[in-house]
């Protein structure tokens, strides 16, 4: 009871407040863009050659505004958004009118979710283990080598890194497909073969994400470990003749993990943004390009849908980690 009242409740309140602020920002910012979804739609039609006489265009503009729910003041639109949102509906996509945004997201989300969750977690785990060891054995040769690799790989413009991998492993040595999420004409039934195909398609995008991710965590973890290493309890454990392996695992890494856990929560939230270039380079069928198109076509509803999802994801992961944190760090209690 007191756990709920003292710990959960305040966090839940902040949780909802932050969601509200985030969504409100996302609602208003694009509406100050000069991009007008109705205009964009019509422009696409005429630019592609559809013949519409000028009068027809004017009439169509009005109809579309009506259909898109873009009549009425910003405030009314905002209220409407919330009404719909609370029912779990983001309205129709403008770009793909009249398909509901939810449908679009449902199609793309699983791809992004599986690719990015797996790579984020994997790079977090690998990066932290490597960084932990490197921080502890900071004078070893392999650490220096790894350090240099990290220094070069990490600052690579991600696009170039991804493209380079693609050219290397799909063109020069063609072992992986040059794009897509699965084989053409593949049926989505479970079989080991299909799973293999899925993995093969996910390999390059995942590799590119993991390469960068691992080294980001590697560098961060290494620094943390180096400072934990000079903590008294580590020195004491060493004096006490505790085996090195044990010290690394239970003293150094356990303690150095704490800030990294928070870091993980934060990085989970930037997943959709991170997906963008990956999807562009590897033509991976995720939510990133959906978002990208939404931005450029003024598809507010789709934009709202994706961003809201992103906000929910990050706040929830932060909340969860906040709630779980005391399990990792007993000093933080459920007061």
């Amino acid at each position: 009871m007191s756990f709920i009242k003292r710990y959960l409740l305040p966090r839940l309140i902040t949780y909802f407040l932050v969601i509200w602020v985030g969504i409100t920002m996302i609602f208003f910012i694009p509406r100050f863009l000069p991009t007008d979804p109705v205009q964009q739609f019509i422009n696409r039609l005429v630019a592609q050659g559809t013949y519409m006489d000028p009068k027809a265009i004017e009439e169509m503009t009005e109809t579309l505004k009506e259909l898109y729910g873009l009549k009425g003041s910003l405030w009314e639109q905002y209220i409407n958004f919330w009404k719909r949102f609370l029912k779990g509906d983001f309205g129709p996509s403008y770009y793909q009118f009249p398909t509901p945004v939810i449908t679009l997201i449902k199609q793309s989300l699983p791809w992004t979710a599986w690719l990015l969750l797996v790579t984020t977690l994997l790079s977090w785990i690998i990066g932290n283990i490597l960084g932990g060891l490197a921080g502890y054995f900071s004078n070893r040769r392999w650490v220096k080598i790894l350090d240099s690799i990290a220094m070069v790989i990490r600052p690579m413009p991600y696009y170039i890194l991804a493209l380079g991998l693609l050219i290397l492993l799909a063109y020069i040595i063609p072992i992986f497909p040059i794009g897509g999420g699965f084989a053409i004409g593949m049926q989505f039934t479970f079989s080991w073969e299909n799973l293999l195909i899925l993995l093969k398609h996910a390999f390059l995008p995942a590799l590119s994400l993991i390469l960068i991710g691992v080294f980001i965590w590697f560098q961060a973890m290494k620094l943390v470990v180096q400072s934990v290493k000079s903590e008294d309890y580590v020195k004491y454990a060493k004096m006490g003749g505790i085996e090195e392996k044990r010290i690394v695992r239970r003293y150094v890494i356990r303690n150095a993990m704490l800030p990294q856990i928070t870091g993980l929560a934060l990085s989970l939230g930037q997943i959709f943004g991170g997906a963008l270039i990956t999807e562009i380079v590897f033509s991976y069928p995720g939510i990133g390009t959906l978002l990208y198109n939404a931005i450029f076509t003024g598809d507010y509803n789709l934009l709202m849908g994706v961003s809201t999802l992103s906000i929910l994801l990050i706040t929830t992961s932060i909340l969860l980690i906040d709630l779980l944190y005391p399990l990792f760090d007993p000093r933080v209690r459920y007061r």
Binding site: L17, M151, V152, P155, Y159, I160, G273, F296, T315
Partner: protein
């Protein structure tokens, strides 16, 4: 000067510093460029490196070396603006929240939480799209600056929070110092290494972000920066046409820039670490 001498004894710093100096030198060279970076068709197109075009020329008929000098200058200036702006915001917010505590602290930390939680990248792309055409270099720096402070404000706050409990805060109070004086005279020296290290980190972030925005095509491609240089080379398929000098120039330069910044930051933050600093003061 002494500081620099000390730092230069560190190999990492020496390397980072020399690279940085070379890059800074490059950006100064831009003032003596024989070519206007905004004009095309100045030199023969698509030539590999050779004298006098030591880094070759691009498909627009520009000399890549001289273009690079502008790109480095602009990227540095932009990242510096971003870094400074976000440092100032982080410092103000972190210090007020840490020192004042109470409601001010709660509100400010809520604000910073919100900034941590919103999908930053999406918003930056959105805003960049919105203002792109008018997105001058300082504007871009400002934009990135406004979004890059939240985490560091938290760190500064927690530092101030712990400094506030140290006895010398009370000594200062007893000496009749006011809040502002305490924050600046007493706390700032402790925060400087942090601010400096995060400034460099933030600069790296800003340069990286600029490159990403450029690759997505949402920054002003007219302004020569490392990002836009890369973007043009990608657009013109330099990679596949074998114009390696065009792609590699911005890529390698930015990698060197990042490495230099990273090494400098690691070395300086170690040097400025209060524990080390006190030791040095002790021996002076």
């Amino acid at each position: 000067m002494q500081v620099l001498k000390d730092l230069l004894r560190d190999t990492r710093f020496r390397f980072g510093f020399i690279v940085f100096l070379v890059l800074a030198g490059l950006s100064i060279l831009s003032f003596f460029s024989p070519y206007n970076p905004y004009l095309w068709n100045q030199v023969p197109r698509d030539l590999p490196p050779h004298w006098p075009h030591i880094l070759g020329t691009n498909s627009m008929g520009q000399d890549i070396f001289w273009k690079l000098t502008f790109a480095v200058r602009n990227s540095l200036v932009m990242s510096l603006i971003a870094g400074l702006v976000s440092r100032v915001i982080a410092m103000i917010i972190g210090m007020i929240a840490g020192y004042k505590g109470g409601t001010a602290d709660r509100i400010l930390m809520f604000l910073s939480d919100s900034f941590l939680v919103i999908p930053l990248f999406i918003i930056i792309v959105l805003i960049a799209t919105m203002v792109k055409a008018r997105l001058s270099l300082p504007m871009l720096g400002l934009l990135l600056g406004v979004f890059g402070w939240a985490w560091d404000a938290r760190v500064i706050r927690s530092q101030v929070l712990s400094l506030r409990e140290r006895d010398f805060t009370y000594t200062a109070l007893l000496s009749g110092s006011k809040a502002l004086a305490i924050v600046f005279k007493e706390y700032l020296p402790f925060l400087i290494p942090l601010i400096f290290a995060t400034l460099i980190g933030n600069m790296s972030w800003a340069i990286g972000m600029e490159i990403t925005l450029a690759i997505l095509g949402v920054s002003n491609l007219d302004i020569p920066t490392l990002g836009t240089m890369l973007q043009w080379s990608i657009n013109y398929q330099a990679l596949l046409l074998g114009y390696w000098w065009w792609v590699l120039t911005p890529v390698i330069t930015s990698i060197f820039l990042f490495i230099a910044l990273y090494l400098i930051s690691v070395s300086i933050s170690e040097y400025l670490d209060p524990r080390m600093r006190i030791q040095r003061i002790g021996q002076a």
